[in-house]
């Protein structure tokens, strides 16, 4: 009984760690595009709408790019890698972009603040932190369903999850986490 409880608790924390890692991975790609887009739009004095449009486009581009590269390195074909990444990352990136840009637009003066205005940088930090908090439960849910980054990991692009749970030296393909085995453990 205690063993089951401990195992469930361990799986839960492994799942949370994987979800956090997947969210951070997603957020890194998003943030590169988002920061680049906002900086470009702000520096060129663009209005909020085109600045946000550029940021979202770049965020999706870099988000997908960051997930595609490990799959290509793992030997997957370009289009096969792209289809896995589209299925795995689209919802997570979309939630991040929605929250990130909503927070930026909601902070008074954040979109109009120049690059030498601390309001711009503080708003961006706050927006990215809010995006992480919003996307974490989404990635957690997707992992429990064997979707999201579970697909990327199953395809072999799991280099960024190596530290989670018992997967340190466990890079076998096809052991993506599922609802019954959220950490992707191999039970023998």
């Amino acid at each position: 009984m205690n063993h089951n409880h401990a195992a469930a608790s361990s799986d839960r924390s492994a799942l949370n760690a994987m979800a956090a890692s997947a969210t951070l991975h997603c957020l890194t790609g998003c943030a590169i595009g988002e920061i680049l887009g906002l900086m470009t739009g702000t520096a060129l004095g663009w209005a909020a709408a085109p600045t946000i449009a550029l940021s979202v486009s770049l965020a999706f581009f870099f988000g997908y790019l960051l997930s595609t590269l490990p799959l290509l390195q793992a030997g997957l074909g370009f289009f096969a890698a792209l289809s896995v990444v589209f299925a795995a990352d689209t919802l997570s990136i979309a939630v991040m972009e929605l929250v990130d840009n909503a927070v930026m637009a909601a902070i008074p003066g954040a979109m109009d603040a120049g690059l030498v205005n601390p309001v711009f940088w503080l708003s961006m930090m706050l927006a990215l932190a809010a995006a992480f908090v919003a996307a974490f439960p989404v990635n957690r849910y997707l992992l429990t369903r064997g979707k999201g980054h579970a697909l990327t990991m199953a395809a072999g692009g799991d280099e960024h999850h190596g530290h989670v749970g018992t997967r340190d030296h466990d890079h076998d393909q096809g052991d993506a986490p599922t609802a019954s085995d959220p950490a992707g453990h191999q039970h023998h």
Partner: protein, 48 residues
């Protein structure tokens, strides 16, 4: 490149941007204009 390294670089970039922007604003606030005359940035803003 490792994701954690990239994330750390991003955090560093954001903190760097914040630091530079605060320094620029402090520099503006303590501009070396003589007493009684408007600071350079105030003059530029007035002209706009």
């Amino acid at each position: 490149m490792n994701t954690n390294t990239l994330a750390a670089a991003l955090v560093g970039f954001l903190l760097g941007g914040l630091t530079v922007s605060i320094a620029a604003q402090l520099d503006d606030d303590t501009g070396d204009s003589p007493h009684g005359s408007p600071a350079p940035h105030a003059l530029i803003q007035t002209l706009r």
